[in-house]
């Protein structure tokens, strides 16, 4: 892929669409800034991750089919959510296989490699290092588990953050430890989730950062909700919003 006029279909995710539109706006501005032609297929809804991970594979399957219908022809699909991209890449083939649907399996295996997490797409596919952002604040980065381990985006977000003017990037202690969100885990195991949140927030606060960022708003909703409840004065922000700051 090259940086000139790559046609990108934006996979916004249901969560970002509904609760974090500013992340979507930042994503559009970053992709357009990198020379991509961005489209937003309005028929998209949800990738089915919550259903699939919570034990509702049967309910997830029609959403897998729908995703293939909506995005099947796209040159590249980009999303500001590591876990939703991991869902498409890692879990769609499992679900198609479990359902014994050979046609669907072929489709998802063909589509998967063209679905990218935003920072990985910018840094690794387009080779962008400096997005021209200015963000004069102390920031720490939490590598969300699915982006880190299921997807292996590595240090793509960090490379992009290092290019931001004025940004003071501080390392998060025990960064790779899960924040305790885990989708419905936060609701089904609320006490354990809260204990993990407490430890993660302690690590965040210890850095003295003003902002904790990640490449996934689901974890950030959990971290941000905790930070706000504690009146900590620390914000949770999606990496895309920092990278789009001028």
């Amino acid at each position: 892929l090259t940086g000139t006029a790559v046609r990108v279909a934006l996979f916004i995710t249901c969560l970002n669409d509904t609760l974090f539109p500013q992340t979507g706006r930042a994503t559009v501005s970053l992709l357009e800034g990198a020379g991509c032609a961005v489209s937003f297929p309005a028929a998209q809804t949800c990738c089915g991750q919550m259903h699939a991970n919570s034990g509702y594979g049967r309910e997830a399957l029609p959403l897998v089919r729908r995703f293939v219908e909506v995005f099947g022809d796209a040159e590249a699909v980009v999303s500001p959510s590591g876990s939703c991209v991991a869902m498409v890449r890692e879990q769609y083939p499992h679900l198609a296989r479990e359902a014994g649907d050979e046609g669907l399996l072929r489709d998802v295996e063909a589509l998967g490699p063209r679905v990218f997490e935003l920072t990985q797409f910018l840094a690794d596919e387009l080779g962008v290092e400096d997005v021209g952002a200015v963000f004069p604040h102390r920031v720490t980065y939490h590598p969300a588990c699915h982006a880190l381990r299921a997807l292996g985006i590595g240090d793509a977000p960090l490379r992009l953050l290092r290019g931001v003017a004025g940004l003071d990037l501080v390392e998060l202690p025990e960064a790779a430890t899960c924040c305790g969100f885990g989708g419905t885990f936060a609701v089904k195991n609320p006490d354990t989730s809260a204990a993990m949140l407490t430890d993660k927030l302690r690590a965040v606060l210890d850095t003295g950062a003003e902002v904790v960022c990640a490449a996934d708003n689901s974890c950030l909703m959990h971290l941000g909700g905790g930070l706000s409840r504690q009146r900590s004065g620390v914000r949770a922000m999606h990496v895309a919003e920092i990278l789009a700051a001028r």
Binding site: I12, C14, D17, T18, L19, F20, P21, G24, R25, F40, A42, A43, T45, C46, M50, H51, N53, S54, G55, Y56, G57, R58, E59, A60, P62, L63, R66, Q91, E98, C145, H146, L148, R149, A176, T177, C178, G180, F181, G182, G183, F185, A186, V187, K188, N189, P190, D191, T192, S193, A194, A195, M196, L197, D199, M221, G224, G225, G226, S228, R229
Partner: protein, 476 residues
């Protein structure tokens, strides 16, 4: 796995409030994690070793029937006696029969998960046979009438003050004992030595059993295991059928993977290997009990059966952020932590421990360290689907979660319904929203969330509404 377990969330809640437990677990898991990481980093062929380990176990389990028959033949040829046990009851009765026939009323035990799984000690007690645990941590648990809380470090939940108090109460000559670790081990050693020398029967589990030679292998740190397997006249080994490996050469790989993954050592202090019996050297009688206890049923699940590859190193426990906070007792099973969450329910055909597959955030740290590359997160998700499909763990027809998942599934199926739901969410949240957040504690499924976190409220304009406006030329 003998007592009916409480639901995990409830048991975890209690464990999370135990400050002593939290501190012990944090210290112990952090230390062992760091040790493991250091010795694994020494090996530039670690990934190749893991892959070799995965292949050995996959092959062993795939042709389990053949390897077990080979093992039975080789053990028998070398003078051992092989017994097959379909379940815990059969295994316990077999062991009790062997002990009785040996004329003993006491056995000394090597640390063994298989015998915990079948509740051997209690079963022997019913036959008037006393079983003494000789692994230091297992002895501590036995004296305290407590259950193991970690696969490898079963008394991880106790500190040395508690242990000293226990020893003062139960061990001869321990009055006035301090809590210095070397003092504690010295008194336990004196107590155990006498029993090693007098016991007629030793009972062990097995880390590996080699089909081609009939060799059984036990790996340990304290030397108590070797005492048990060599001093008594009769030795009984209870092993799950999945512990068989085809060739002696396979141990070369396994014995490199296991100590680095479990204790963070290059090599463990004691590795005992024995093959049948030999006059004048070690026990005069050797019995091998091959335990099924649900394993054959696990084999039938093409995804779930990889759980049988586990070599019980416990690396997954030590890196698990859930285990690190709740400890092992909350899982209510012989096998706790990530491996327990996929093994314990499967061994009971998902009839028990069916909520354990949800005791994980699917963060993937366990898969990353597993020495035989068991994809634990994928198996957790797979088992969640099986449990829901069976209506287990509270997922019956009337379960509110099941109904809302079905409703959400329908909403996500059309653009019109999805957009209507976005509007409804915005309007519904509006009266509760202040500065873009919902700060009050809500009832129902959001109770746990709002107890410790504010809730993000839907803003006035969704992304898609912004995009539509931009397309019309009204936006930025």
């Amino acid at each position: 796995m003998t007592d009916a377990a409480r639901p995990f969330p409830e048991a975890a809640r209690e464990a999370l409030a135990d400050s002593q437990l939290r501190r012990n677990l944090r210290t112990a898991t952090t230390t062992i994690r760091e040790k493991r990481a250091a010795v694994v980093a020494e090996r530039d062929d670690w990934e190749a070793l893991r892959e070799a380990g995965r292949r050995i176990k996959a092959q062993a389990v795939r042709h389990l029937d053949r390897h077990l028959e080979d093992l039975e033949r080789t053990v028998t040829t070398r003078g051992g006696v092989v017994h097959w046990a379909r379940d815990a009851g059969e295994a316990n009765a077999t062991v009790a029969g062997i002990v009785r026939a040996a004329g003993a009323d006491e056995v000394i035990k090597v640390k063994s998960l298989a015998t915990d799984e079948i509740g051997l000690n209690d079963a022997l007690a019913e036959h008037g046979i006393a079983a003494l645990e000789t692994d230091l941590a297992e002895l501590i648990n036995q004296l305290a009438h407590d259950r193991p809380s970690h696969i490898l470090v079963p008394a991880i939940h106790r500190n040395r003050e508690e242990i000293a108090a226990l020893f003062r109460r139960h061990l001869p000559g321990a009055e006035g004992l301090g809590s210095d670790p070397s003092e504690l081990t010295a008194i336990a050693r004196r107590f155990l030595r006498r029993r090693f020398l007098t016991a007629g029967v030793g009972v062990s589990g097995a880390n590996f059993a080699v089909a081609e030679t009939g060799t059984v292998c036990v790996v340990e740190s304290e030397g108590n295991g070797r005492m048990c397997t060599t001093l008594p006249h009769t030795l009984v080994t209870v092993m799950g059928i999945e512990k068989v490996v085809p060739r002696l050469d396979d141990l070369e790989v396994m014995l490199q993977l296991l100590p680095r993954s479990s204790t963070g050592e290059r090599m463990n202090p004691y590795t005992s290997l024995w093959t049948g019996v030999r006059p004048g050297d070690g026990p005069g009688a050797f019995h091998l009990v091959l335990l099924d206890n649900g394993r054959t049923e696990v084999l039938a699940d093409e995804v779930g059966r990889d759980a049988l590859h586990c070599i019980r190193c416990s690396a997954c426990l030590n890196v698990c952020p859930v285990y690190e906070r709740t400890g092992g007792h909350a899982y209510g099973a012989t096998y706790p932590g990530p491996i327990g969450a996929i093994l314990a329910p499967q061994l009971t055909g998902l009839r028990e421990h069916a909520d354990l597959p949800w005791a994980s955030t699917l963060c993937g740290a366990c898969y990353e360290v597993c020495p035989v590359k068991i994809d634990i997160p994928s198996i957790l998700v797979h088992l969640r689907r099986r449990v829901v499909a069976q209506g287990g763990a509270g997922h019956g027809r009337l379960d509110p979660e099941r109904r809302s998942m079905a409703a959400l599934g329908r909403i996500f199926l059309t653009r019109r319904r999805f957009e209507a739901a976005q509007t409804a969410a915005r309007l519904g949240a509006w009266p509760l929203t202040r500065d873009g957040r919902i700060e009050r504690r809500l009832p129902g499924p959001l109770k746990g969330w709002t107890a410790v976190r504010d809730l993000q409220a839907p803003p006035a304009q969704s992304f898609r509404a912004w995009w539509a406006e931009r397309e019309r030329g009204g936006g930025a």
